[in-house]
Amino acid sequence: MPNSEKPGSALFIQTIDRYVPEVMQTMVGLSATPATGLANYPQPSKLEGITGAIGLSGKVNGVVYTAYSDSLGKHVAEKILGGSAGEQEISDVVAELTNMITGNLKSCLCDLGYNCALSIPSVMRGEEITVSARNATICVGNSYAIEGSKDSLKVLVFAAIEN
């Protein structure tokens, strides 16, 4: 049974602000410092480079995006794998890190009574990836300064909560 209080934008921001640094520090050994999260992230939004995406379906429907520049994706993948990383390795790392962030977000939502299932991660590459979600009531995002990179990691969550 869902709790009486619906998860709001603040909870989504707090959750990604907790798990993005934890995942980056534990798995990659790099600090990820959050900027100030946006509770009304503009959409459609344009992303570029490598973007991991995982869908949530159930009492929460939506998508979590994690967007890396090409150089940030390479930096993170090579740090985690301990050697040079090609396109496929980078995609695999982006997919798995997205899975870890989204899995932990899902766990928080489930513990609040908002059960949902995760899709298999997908990875997109491109100069202009446009993301939006027409029915989303939660449109949040934040940027994370990653140690050793001039580029930031962007994490966006677009979701609708079932009544």
């Binding site: 995942v23 798995m27 985690i80 390795e89 790392v93 899975n99 932990n104 766990s107 489930c110």
Partner: protein
């Protein structure tokens, strides 16, 4: 004996790479599969000793794969550790009921995976495995997890014989054995003579007061021997010698026990330094019930570690098909902080996992007030992390003996 075989089932090559890297120093055979269906095939073919299983995967997910593993008589006994980012209470409970042995939440460290696997199989360092099997057998780098009911061997290196004597007395009720040496010069040949024998110490307690940084040099000498690499070293020091204590910690001493030693706490502090599972001291099975017996003299360290370790222990009950727990407080007449913490946290864990519980005791008039006592003590710093497991402060029913408690379920 052949090296243990570990099957990793995950759709991420990154996870395979990290796990493979983590186990590289150990004499193990790694096999991999990229989804549940492939995992079943590889498990049937390779008969691994442990399976690390992801949840979200294409073709066949980890939950379906686990169900099929447990339904196959030839595979059902292989211990499975789930490795997943999905750690919601409901998910954990669902998977725990399917018979999973352990659960590692992503993100994880390589050390965490190795530690969990080493609870199930003995991991020997690769370098030591073939040329010197005897040394490898003695190397406690990642051997099967020890428990507090094992015959633990403690070496005390201290210039004052009274310290070793009082430590021996404090640990005697656990059946642990203390040997002593008056200084590093005597301790080094003693330890060398025990390598690859049954007498290798499991933990070494060293006075930090030896001149010429004797304790630090001793630490380095012990660590140079690969067969002794995993033995925890604890510093013994007077409270005021903070410089020595900090220096020892920086060198690698895993804990410092200050003198005068709090002898009531010592067995549990040693258990903590060794990362021993203390639950076998408290938990037993009785028919279709599990029983946890908690004594009045539970130490503060024992209370904290029992509360922490009970989480896994109680989740293991679910895996083993138990759904009833008797909390035996015979001999307990008053609740002090360690007891409140242990009992309330165990009840809280049972509530979360739908395990029914009953309390047995011979001071029912005092014990029945536990909900009121918890409620009034929750603001105390030592209990601030405690979840109150009681919805009201109404008195509890206390059963006179275990049989009466078991009959009431």
């Amino acid at each position: 004996m052949s090296s243990p075989k570990i099957l990793s089932v995950d759709d991420s090559r990154m996870i395979h790479t990290l796990i493979n890297k983590g186990f590289t120093p150990y004499d193990v055979q790694m096999v991999f599969a990229s989804n549940g269906a492939e995992g079943l095939e590889v498990a049937a073919r390779e008969k691994p000793d442990v399976i690390l299983l992801d949840v979200t995967m294409p073709v066949m997910d980890g939950v379906e794969c686990l169900g099929k593993l447990k339904a196959d008589p030839s595979l059902k006994d292989i211990p499975v550790i789930m490795l997943t980012a999905e750690a919601g209470k409901e998910n954990v409970l669902k998977i725990a009921k399917m018979g999973v042995r352990d659960y590692i939440v992503k993100p994880f460290t390589e050390a965490n995976v190795i530690e969990r696997v080493s609870r199930l199989v003995t991991l020997k360092p690769k370098a030591a495995a073939s040329p010197a099997p005897a040394v490898a057998a003695a190397a406690p780098t990642a051997r099967k997890a020890r428990i507090a009911t094992d015959a633990i061997k403690i070496l005390v290196v201290d210039e004052h014989p009274a310290i070793a004597e009082s430590l021996a007395k404090a640990v005697s009720k656990r059946g642990w054995k203390v040997t002593s040496c008056p200084g590093p010069a005597e301790a080094q040949p003693h330890i060398a003579s025990t390598v690859a024998t049954e007498e290798t110490p499991d933990i070494i307690l060293v006075s930090l007061a030896f001149p010429g940084k004797g304790a630090l040099k001793f630490y380095q000498t012990v660590r140079l021997n690969p067969a002794l690499k995993g033995i925890p070293l604890v510093g013994l020091s007077v409270k005021t010698a903070t410089f020595d204590q900090n220096e020892a910690k920086e060198t690698g001493y895993c804990a410092i026990f200050t003198k005068p030693l709090e002898l009531d706490e010592i067995p549990d502090r040693i258990a903590r330094a060794m990362d021993l599972d203390i639950t076998p001291l408290f938990y037993t099975s009785e028919g279709d019930c599990q029983v946890v017996s908690i004594p009045q003299d539970l130490s503060e360290t024992g209370s904290l570690d029992l509360s922490r370790q009970s989480r896994k222990k109680i989740a293991d009950f679910v895996n083993a098909g138990f759904a009833k727990l008797i909390i035996d407080l015979t001999g307990v007449s008053k609740f002090d902080i360690p007891l409140i913490r242990a009992v309330a946290s165990i009840i809280s864990e049972c509530n979360g996992l739908d395990i029914k519980w009953r309390i047995v005791g011979d001071s029912p008039e005092n014990l029945s007030n536990l909900p009121a006592i918890v409620s009034t003590n929750l603001k105390i710093a030592a209990l601030k992390e405690l979840n109150n497991p009681f919805p009201t402060t109404a008195p509890l029913e206390i059963f006179a003996d275990r049989a009466a408690a078991a009959a009431s379920f």
